[in-house]
């Protein structure tokens, strides 16, 4: 089957016209499948031509059939040609049946029954059924006339006379409706106006809007996830079914009890970042939601980079996000088994030892290995010699006889590395590659859903190939879009550079987007999970704006971070007519929108401090609502307003402090605005953060021609040493979070000492934190 003429002739056989043939030929996969179909069909018809309807169904088979039932092609073709399957619904039913009945033995009788083979629906039956259905809904139909949704009627009909010809049914329905309603009148053509939904206007009173609910990852993403049930791996598009599949799946179900089993497989060579949070949520979240389990598996096949601190850091972060691994495993736990698998692969003549150097097989179209066909015994012997240390690093590899989707030939399975391994010590000097290890580890752990990012899509078929080549249980690989955040970099190498250059202090510098940095900055894990849920619903590769993450943080902190009052740049005010003899204790609600959550005490004294930006001697803005020489301002929670009596200035003319008076707020005394203040305060160091990069995509050379390192925002960290906060924060622990009213959310930094608390600004209160 090589010449275009032959191809054209074959395609014409199933009723394609010349134009359609030209189009089809461009799609090689489809063409070859159709050719195969025709090949079978020709055998069945035995020299006769095909009926047009059958030809059409055969074409449908080519375009709609899922790859995992390709082995059933002869049956399908035969059924179509022999007119067992005559309609599209039957064909669809046939697909369904075959997908859910993989394996060798097919019960033809039940197949035929399921597909309605031989069921004849007479025109009389159709007529009668249509009549029945219309009668049942007659009143409504008469009322709504042509606005009645015909689709629901058709649906009902399909249920009742499943195997009737769809076209005939539709024609009959239309005819009977016309008889019932007569031709369309003008009224039928007027489109109904959609009722305008009147959104209730927010009243001032309800401005304290109902706080958004904190939702878990699965609550947000769950609906969009439509994975196969455990044990029904074959129902997934692209899954490869072999002779052994069914018995392997049966055994798999026996071992797992039908539980969902996933795994989070990080390499222990770096720090987890926000991108990993999605993988953690996906794997742990999906398992949890389905009462399954999730492994934390360290993909430690690469011995050179591993450090104990990375293992610890990863475990800590998974825990922080609120997930419990079912078990912590290591890819290296299976090195013995993997080695046996490799030998078995050689024995099956599906792998060989190759002497091509790495440089030789890199790049485009590398030459094929001249060692591909060497004797099995020789490869086995050399592979053992590799293990025994008889070769140099890079001199020799074990390669699999498989060409990947992207054209990469014979991926390497094992290579020599003379390096100590964190787990296996000096037991091995050959280490398996990702391509070899990953699927087999999944298989050994009975993973039901092997979730990974889109980049691995091109390795999916290799994944299936290897499991099937060794006749071991084959999990299903599902890919999801990787999470990219703008205004940041996450690669380990780049983070390292930032630290080396002294731009950032460490892996957990709050300007970074590693998970430990986010924790330090004060991001609650619930917010990160929620964020992952929000972006996770799409399987597409997306870059997400930081603002979405920040809004999740606000949502969570709004209901979890108690209020406190703080001033970043204090301005001393002495209240001359302070109405009390000594300082007052005022009760302040922890959460003004929910008073049931308790109160805390705040001191109110003769000397108060305001934020100096809340005082303006002569504001030009007419909408200015805070303190000026002439305008009083309310002091939150005190019930008093403050007026300026005198401005004490420094030699340079700047404001030193204010002398003021206060008056009780009442019917006649109403300040335009209320501000936060402190009295008898605690000093603290405030660290305010901005984006670390100036451009959205610092790694994009179009945006940043001189390289990402030149895009660093040097003012991303601002430290204020003499900020003040009310005493309610005393005694709080590291990572405790507060809303400093009117300023933002703050979290206690680990650098805090007994003498001086340090707070990180987690996020400002609003997206645009300009004050009105």
């Amino acid at each position: 089957m090589t010449t275009p003429e032959e191809k054209t002739e074959y395609l014409r056989f199933i009723g394609l016209n010349d134009q359609k043939i030209q189009e089809t030929l461009k799609n090689e996969t489809l063409t070859s499948l159709l050719l195969e179909i025709v090949h079978h069909a020709k055998k069945v018809v035995n020299g006769l031509t095909l009926e047009k309807s059958s030809a059409n169904l055969l074409y449908q088979t080519g375009t709609k059939m899922k790859s995992q039932i390709k082995n059933r092609l002869p049956l399908l073709v035969e059924s179509v040609v022999n007119k067992n399957l005559t309609t599209e619904p039957q064909l669809t039913a046939a697909f369904e049946y075959l997908i859910s009945h993989p394996g060798q033995d097919l019960d033809i009788k039940s197949f035929n029954e399921y597909c309605g083979v031989g069921v004849v629906v007479t025109p009389e039956q159709i007529k009668q059924t249509v009549q029945d259905v219309i009668n049942e809904k007659k009143c409504e139909i008469l009322e709504k006339r042509y606005k009645f949704p015909v689709g629901s009627l058709l649906g009902e009909l399909r249920k009742r006379i499943k195997w009737a010809d769809g076209k005939l049914v539709k024609t009959e329905l239309d005819a009977q409706l016309l008889t019932l309603l007569g031709p369309k009148v003008e009224q039928d053509n007027v489109k109904e106006k959609k009722k305008e939904e009147q959104k209730p206007k927010k009243s001032a009173a309800t401005e304290q809007a109902e706080p958004e609910k904190i939702q878990s990852f699965m609550e947000l993403a769950g609906e969009a996830i439509n994975f196969h049930k455990p044990g029904e791996n074959y129902k997934t598009e692209g899954y490869v079914v072999t002779d052994k599949t069914m018995s392997l799946l049966k055994n798999h179900l026996k071992e797992t009890g039908g539980k969902v089993i996933t795994r989070f497989p990080p390499e222990p060579n770096g720090i987890l970042h926000i991108g990993h949070a999605k993988a953690i949520n996906f794997n742990f979240g999906y398992a949890k939601h389905n009462n399954g389990v999730c492994y934390l598996r360290f993909d430690d096949t690469n011995p050179e980079k591993e450090e104990e601190k990375y293992f610890k850091g990863i475990i800590e972060m998974v825990d922080w996000l609120g997930y419990k691994p079912y078990k912590i495993t290591h890819a290296s736990d299976q090195f013995d088994k993997l080695y046996e698998f490799a030998k078995e692969l050689i024995r099956r003549n599906l792998a060989y030892v190759c002497h091509q150097k790495n440089e030789e097989i890199k790049g485009h179209n590398p030459p094929p290995s001249p060692w591909r066909e060497r004797p099995i015994e020789e490869s086995l012997k050399l592979f053992e010699d590799m293990r025994k240390g008889k070769f140099d690093e890079g001199e020799i590899t074990l390669r699999m006889k498989y060409t990947m989707e992207d054209g990469k030939q014979d991926p390497v399975a094992y290579r020599i590395k003379y390096a100590h391994h964190a787990k296996t010590g000096d037991k091995w000097c050959i280490y398996p590659t990702y391509d070899f290890t990953h699927c087999l580890n999944d298989s050994l752990e009975n993973i039901t859903h092997s979730l990974c990012t889109k980049e691995f899509q091109s390795r999916r078929s290799a994944y299936y190939w290897l499991c099937n080549s060794l006749d071991v249980y084959c999990p299903v690989q599902w890919e999801y879009g990787r999470l990219n955040l703008n205004y940041t970099v996450v690669s380990k190498r780049k983070l390292m550079k930032l630290i080396q250059e002294g731009i950032c202090n460490d892996w957990d510098d709050p300007r970074l987007y590693t998970l430990s940095a986010l924790r330090r900055k004060g991001y609650p894990p619930e917010a990160i999970n929620m964020f992952c849920g929000k972006v996770g619903v799409t399987m597409a590769q997306t870059t997400t704006d930081i603002s979405l993450l920040e809004s999740c943080v606000r949502t969570v902190l709004n209901v979890t971070a108690p209020r406190a009052m703080a001033v970043l740049e204090p301005l001393r005010v002495v209240i001359e007519n302070f109405p009390f003899e000594s300082k007052m204790e005022i009760d302040v609600p922890n959460f003004p929108q929910d008073e049931s959550k308790g109160t805390h005490k705040v001191a109110f004294d003769r000397v108060v401090y305001l934020d100096s930006c809340d005082f303006n001697e002569n504001p030009t803005d007419k909408g200015y609502k805070r303190l000026s020489l002439t305008q009083p301002v309310g002091l939150r929670y005190t019930g008093y307003q403050l007026s300026v009596k005198e401005v004490v200035k420094n030699a340079d003319g700047s404001v030193k402090e204010l002398i003021g008076t206060c008056a009780r707020v009442g019917e006649n005394v109403k300040p335009k605005g209320f501000i936060q203040w402190v009295s008898n305060p605690v000093y603290f160091e405030a660290r305010l953060y901005e984006k670390l990069f100036n451009h959205e995509n610092p790694e994009d050379l179009k945006e940043v021609p001189n390289g990402w390192l030149t895009d660093v925002n040097k003012h991303a960290l601002k430290i204020i040493n003499n900020a003040m906060v009310d005493a309610s924060v005393i005694g709080s622990k590291v990572f405790d979070k507060f809303q400093f009213e009117r300023i933002g959310y703050f979290s206690v930094d680990p650098n805090s000492t007994e003498e001086m608390m340090v707070f990180n600004r987690t996020v400002s209160l609003k997206e645009d934190h300009e004050k009105k």
Binding site: E384, K390, E393, Y418, H420, G425, D426, C429
Partner: protein, 681 residues
């Protein structure tokens, strides 16, 4: 002191602290700025990788050694390079093999060190003898040093403690103690030594297990036809014989080859001369009495007579084309030489297979083709040369006249021994003067891929023989000393020595001749073998016939004396076997214990010698054994006799066992050296 002065002092101190702290931070910063040396970093990584690989390879060697041969037909092992006894023998015959104590200790400590300090690949195990204890392990210091470079500070004593804690359960070690800066003193278990001695009595002195049996091809003696053998050949013959025996003792398959110089241009003139002198040689036996003289005559003619020279060349051509008549002449000449050689070999107890240069003549063409095929041949002035890597002098494989050279025939021999004979180990016992030539041959063999890492190819070189005047060994008239004459002189001198000691009165006529030969040839061999072969060696009958010190006479005498102890007590070896079967050997007396340990050192000496092929270690060991035995015998009664009657009052069987074990080890040593022992002397 008042408050203010205290305060000012405090301030002063504070300032000092501050300035020091500042200095520290400055220094820290400076250190950070120091550029790391890239090359150093590269080398360090490289070293780390190599050390790691050493560990892997060491383990692989053990793995391969411990694998029964049949199941590993595919694995030709790299480990053949060094033969050690670290692996355990197959269990069914485990009891027969002896145990090398050092090697067993080595592997015990290696495991213990690996268990604790696996990150240090260079953590080599150092086991030595000890004045305090029985053995000593001195690895802790080196490990400490290595840890230090990794930034870990520990003291060697702690390291030693850790090693000791990790030693796995074993029969060998009674106890260990850590002393001083980290020496580990090792005390052997008496129980273990008793078991080993028992084995020795029951099975005789056995070699330790060394894994796979190998094919050894050894080239030694190798004199030239028509020339007399001289002392140089004597050294090669004696050393080669002993090394062959050693390998055979370990159960290896040894092919002993005599690479005779039986081909070449000199045969042209010999045959031409033969034709002139005995024109009828093809019909009648030509009575060449003195081949040496015959050689000289023909050489003279060759140098003086142009016509003769021409005929001589014609004969060479005919010889090379295997002209039947000429071949007959060649054989005749060879036979004369062969007879002389065989006499000497028989006298000295040497066995060899003759495979001279002529054997390789037909293989040389192919060798040249092999090198040409691999593009390794350079043509220079009509000569075909091979430049082996790392060797300064090229090999000439084809002369400008198209003829071949020693280089060619040696390459042909190399190929034949590797492929046709399937040798795993190839040894060439040739004088050190040939080392450049041998290097060239070996290097070319590697270059062309014949020699693989699994092969062990060695030039067992030896130094020249000097006379007592420390000049090249010559007769008074300046001629080369003929070997036959030398042996005869030895016999004469040995007889004189025996008579001097009045042995003829004790020994029968037959016994005296046996003693004469044993002493004469024994002296010559022992004197040669007891010296480090790589050094020059001074040939002196005076010295070798001395009856004190490390000489054959002393050793042979010591041996007969030990043998006679049991005989005098009327105890035979069967009785000793029965005794050890049901009694344990007493090692309570320090002298008994010392002797036992010396006896049990035998296996490790064998292993060492098998690796370095320095036979003198065996002689040193024998001498030490004899010395320790004398100490034992002087202070421990084996047989108690009545002073008056001379009747035997009691026999200490346990001590007789020690005597017998000593004798049995010594006998084995003599046998390995190729010396005949005497029951009476």
């Amino acid at each position: 002191m008042d408050y203010s002065s205290l305060k000012s002092k405090l301030d002063q101190q504070n300032r000092l602290i501050e300035s020091l702290e500042k200095e520290l931070t400055d220094l820290d910063q400076q250190r950070d700025k120091l550029k790391p040396n890239e090359q150093l970093a590269k080398l360090l990584t490289e070293r780390e990788k190599l050390s790691f690989r050493i560990k892997i390879l060491k383990r692989s060697i053990q793995e391969e050694l411990s694998k029964p041969k049949s199941s590993s037909a595919m694995t030709s092992s790299n480990s053949a390079r060094k033969l050690t006894s670290k692996a355990l023998p197959p269990t069914e015959s485990k009891n027969k093999y002896s145990t090398s104590i050092t090697d067993t200790l080595y592997s015990l400590f290696d495991k213990a060190i690996q268990a604790e300090f696996s990150e240090i690949a260079e953590a080599s195990v150092v086991i030595t003898g000890s004045n305090v204890a029985d053995y000593q392990c001195n690895s802790a210091m080196a490990i400490c040093q290595a840890l230090k470079t990794k930034g870990q500070k520990v003291n060697p004593n702690q390291v030693a403690q850790k090693i000791v804690a990790n030693i796995e359960k074993n029969d060998l070690i009674e106890k260990t103690e850590v002393s001083g800066p980290g020496f580990i003193n090792i005390y052997l278990s008496k129980n273990f030594c008793q078991t080993e001695l028992k084995k020795l009595v029951m099975c005789g002195a056995q070699a330790p297990f060394i894994g796979e049996k190998k094919r050894i091809v050894i080239d030694f003696s190798s004199p030239n036809i028509a020339k007399e053998m001289h002392v140089g050949h004597l050294r090669s013959t004696i050393i080669g014989e002993s090394i062959s025996r050693l390998f055979e003792y370990f159960g290896h398959d040894v092919l002993r080859l005599n690479h005779l110089g039986d081909w070449g241009t000199q045969f042209g003139m010999l045959i031409a001369h033969l034709k002139d002198k005995f024109p009828n040689y093809s019909q009648e036996m030509a009575p060449i009495g003195d081949l040496q003289a015959f050689y000289k005559e023909s050489k003279k003619r060759f140098d003086e007579d142009e016509q003769f020279k021409k005929r001589a060349y014609e004969c060479v051509v005919k010889l090379q084309s295997y002209d039947p008549e000429i071949i007959m002449g060649w054989k005749l000449i060879c036979d004369v030489s062969r007879k002389e050689f065989e006499h000497i070999y028989e006298e000295l107890g040497i066995s060899l297979i003759e495979r001279g240069e002529s054997f390789y003549q037909n293989l040389m063409k192919e060798v040249v083709a092999d090198f040409e095929k691999e593009n390794l041949v350079t043509v220079e002035d009509g000569r075909k040369l091979v430049f082996p890597p790392g060797v300064s002098i090229p090999l000439t494989i084809v002369k400008s006249d198209g003829g071949y050279t020693y280089d060619t025939s040696d390459l042909a021999a190399l190929k034949n021994r590797l492929f046709a004979e399937k040798g795993d180990v190839l040894l060439y016992v040739i004088d050190a003067g040939q080392s450049v030539h041998m290097q060239g041959i070996f290097s070319a063999g590697k270059q062309i891929g014949w020699i693989k890492p699994c092969h062990r190819i060695e030039h067992v070189e030896f130094g020249v023989v000097l006379g007592e005047d420390k000049k090249k060994f010559k007769t008074r008239s300046g001629d080369t000393v003929r070997l036959k004459d030398l042996l005869d002189e030895g016999l004469t001198r040995a007889l004189a020595k025996l008579k001097e000691k009045e042995r003829e009165k004790v020994l029968s006529g037959e016994e005296l001749v046996a003693a004469q030969k044993a002493v004469a040839y024994g002296c010559i061999k022992y004197a040669d073998l007891s010296h480090n072969r790589t050094k020059e060696y001074i040939f002196s009958f005076e010295k070798m016939l001395e009856d004190k010190g490390n000489t054959a006479v002393y050793m042979l005498y010591a041996y007969t004396r030990i043998r006679s102890i049991s005989r005098n007590a009327g105890v035979g070896s069967q009785q000793l076997k029965e005794y050890v079967a049901s009694n344990s050997i007493s090692l309570d007396d320090p002298k008994e214990w010392k002797l036992a340990k010396q006896i049990l050192k035998f296996p490790e000496i064998l292993i060492k010698t098998l690796n370095d092929l320095l036979i003198h270690s065996i002689c040193d060991y024998m001498y030490e054994l004899a010395t320790v035995f004398t100490e034992f015998y002087d202070s421990c009664y084996c047989i108690e006799k009545d002073r008056q009657t001379g009747e035997i009052k009691s026999v200490n069987m346990s001590r007789l066992v020690l005597c017998d074990s000593t004798a049995s080890v010594l006998a084995t040593c003599f046998n390995l050296l190729g010396l005949k022992t005497l029951e009476k002397m």
